[in-house]
Subunit: 471 residues, 2 copies
Amino acid sequence: MTPEEFRKAGHQLIDWIADYRQQVETMPVRAQVNPGDVRRQLPVQPPEDPVSIDQLLEDLNSAIVPGITQVQHPMHFGWFPSNASLASVLGDIASSGLGTLGISWESCPALTELETVVCDWLRQLTGLSEKWQGTIHDTASTACLTALMVAREQASDYSQNRGGLQAETSPLIVYSTAEAHSSITKSALLAGFGSDNLRFIDVGAETKAMSASALRFAIEQDIDNNLRPAAIIASVGSTGVTAIDPVAEIAEIANEFGIWLHVDAAMAGSAMLLPECRKLWDGVENADSICWNPHKWMGTILDCSLFYVKDPELLIRVMSTNPSYLQSTVDDEVIQYRDWGIPLGRRFRALKLWFHLRLDGPEAIRQRLRRDLENANWFADQVRNTEHWQVVAPVNLQTICIRHNPHDMQGDELDAHTLAWVNSINQSGEAFMSASQLDGRWMVRVSIGVESTTREHVEALWGLIQRAVEK
Amino acid sequence: MTPEEFRKAGHQLIDWIADYRQQVETMPVRAQVNPGDVRRQLPVQPPEDPVSIDQLLEDLNSAIVPGITQVQHPMHFGWFPSNASLASVLGDIASSGLGTLGISWESCPALTELETVVCDWLRQLTGLSEKWQGTIHDTASTACLTALMVAREQASDYSQNRGGLQAETSPLIVYSTAEAHSSITKSALLAGFGSDNLRFIDVGAETKAMSASALRFAIEQDIDNNLRPAAIIASVGSTGVTAIDPVAEIAEIANEFGIWLHVDAAMAGSAMLLPECRKLWDGVENADSICWNPHKWMGTILDCSLFYVKDPELLIRVMSTNPSYLQSTVDDEVIQYRDWGIPLGRRFRALKLWFHLRLDGPEAIRQRLRRDLENANWFADQVRNTEHWQVVAPVNLQTICIRHNPHDMQGDELDAHTLAWVNSINQSGEAFMSASQLDGRWMVRVSIGVESTTREHVEALWGLIQRAVEK
């Protein structure tokens, strides 16, 4: 395809996207397809003859769009806000158009240096000190795995340069809670620690936040048993109920025992753009690594997960490679982000942060976040003030966990009722929420914060929910 | 930003991209900036007031573009062809515009099902049997790490469910060669094997391909020493000299001893679109996993790395998570790609393969690959037939490794001469090649295969090189 052909097709595609984003609100939130429906519309065999962009856009409309759960829909209250702000989309488009290659500073100096700059802008915007240096990962899962690998190497005095974890005689231990994101357990297992060496520390009955005293007890017990505490993962905004682990107390323990502390603020990190929310991660300055996702509530299109460390040399010591074909004459003066994470090659992801922050401006983002917090409070108040309804977990940010219980239902009966009303709404396509378990029983998470979600939509949701339980 | 504002800015951006891609050939290949030059043009502090798209495009021109090494430039012969074909760029733009969320089948059924379809199209197009099922990773580094983690778990009878690698008494061993990509060593260390347990098998003096007999000897010796062979990584197209390990012989050994065989064809996989090249990975059907990157020579914009396995259940057993908030009623009937790799969330990367294959068509891609192979042969012939010039490694595909030696230079003198002429060209911005080491001495890799590189450009390069050594 020539640049002129691209120009023509690109203009068509931009119009298609603009129309699409204007029409999102008219579409069902959850895709109304069954397993295999999309696949059956696509040829089993690869194409031979090229098609026109017109044909492809038609196919996009007929085969793909009906198979999309519309997370940009203002009535999407599921999982988490996965905002793809159009300013950041433009940055992503610029990245695609440039077709750069990020494998070393030399392969695209601007990619490296803009990444340094925008990560530092977000450091400042979230109130972190100059001690922190950031990089962009695809997801918080990868960032957590990276943190655990570095913690593993630090705690084992860099066993990778000897026999690896295989030669360690005294097991390394990882601490987190059962409320932490599923990727924490996955990362610990992938990093080779083994499930026997992963401790789920007790949480508060109401708060679901890690008990610092239970953490201390577990660490001391492990040390007494000749085990080696290696890493603690604290959640600032857990996935289920947005639980906030007490970072300050945990950091004190981590520092006392020389344990790596990784703060997983994947969802809640966006809130740190608001000074009034920063108390939620009090003590974060004493952690060793932090991850949060602009690609959630803040709205820089996925994939954009920030990973901050105080000492990149520790990352480099574990992650670096320096093959001859990647060397250049300026290697001593530049950052090689390949040595800060797992993949060698990277896209020019800094552009979407640059576009987002510059075209929208931080103040507009902050105002939107505050709007969402107000909407969440309003919604929580409605639930609390309505008979048979209950807010079942503290509302720390913009997620409200609710249950409806009209006649003292228990156990399975309550579960069946909860799943029935939430599934009826989800299946209708009118709105979408996530069912999740709390203390082994189903509840419904209402996660507010899609860019286009106004008070009106939250009110509409509350109406929908009340009608659903009456059916 | 509203969809209408996006429409306007998007049209400007498309024109900007089309102009940019038309002008690439007029720009220096290697960015003519020094460390810190880009950064110094950008404010240290984050923006407060929003700017217009016009202002941002100006800044893109003035601050970013000069800091880009132009890998889409027809005179780029460095590293590997990192083609961002404009058809695939359109697919990437569609992905950005849609703003989908890939965390489960339910979160975007089309994302999951199109990924299944396009991976299968490429399976067919590269002549792999129906035994293989594919998924898209960001890079071959991540795919290799995934393969090694699965191999580790299989060889240790899923030690992750007990004490991890830490409880294993008989070390697991990984086999590769010193010619393999740097990510192989990195992956083995990150997966916890430890450098003591990584074997670099001897390679042929000329071919740089793994010696199957040396592999067998190493495995037998390790078994005799009560060690446990766990994984072999065979390179089909090594990074330095495009060495082709003998996959058929290696697979026979792997199967005999029950060792996981991962085939890293990151660069050479694109060649498998050509039936006449498939002899290069003869025996691949007997491997356990394969990775190759459409984002290299084939030209589907980065990041797009294909990872095929015969038995996804093995991936799922090691990688799966199934938290309550991600469960849906159809979980038994669908693929959850989050359980096939490290990250939970994924972009709609299948779209860029879909656009690329449908808008360009496979035949056009095949023709381009054949053109590049012919250009490589032509270039190799020029070098071979010119006094004082030498092709220093077999030309298995489109990379030619060369040295110039006008008067029987040796050692450091030859190294200095080689680096002098290649750096003089690279610094001029007229063309770019990678210096790389072979048997501890510098040579120059001429990697042909940028989409816009014609015979004329290869001829121009040969002229440049001959003039450079005369200076």
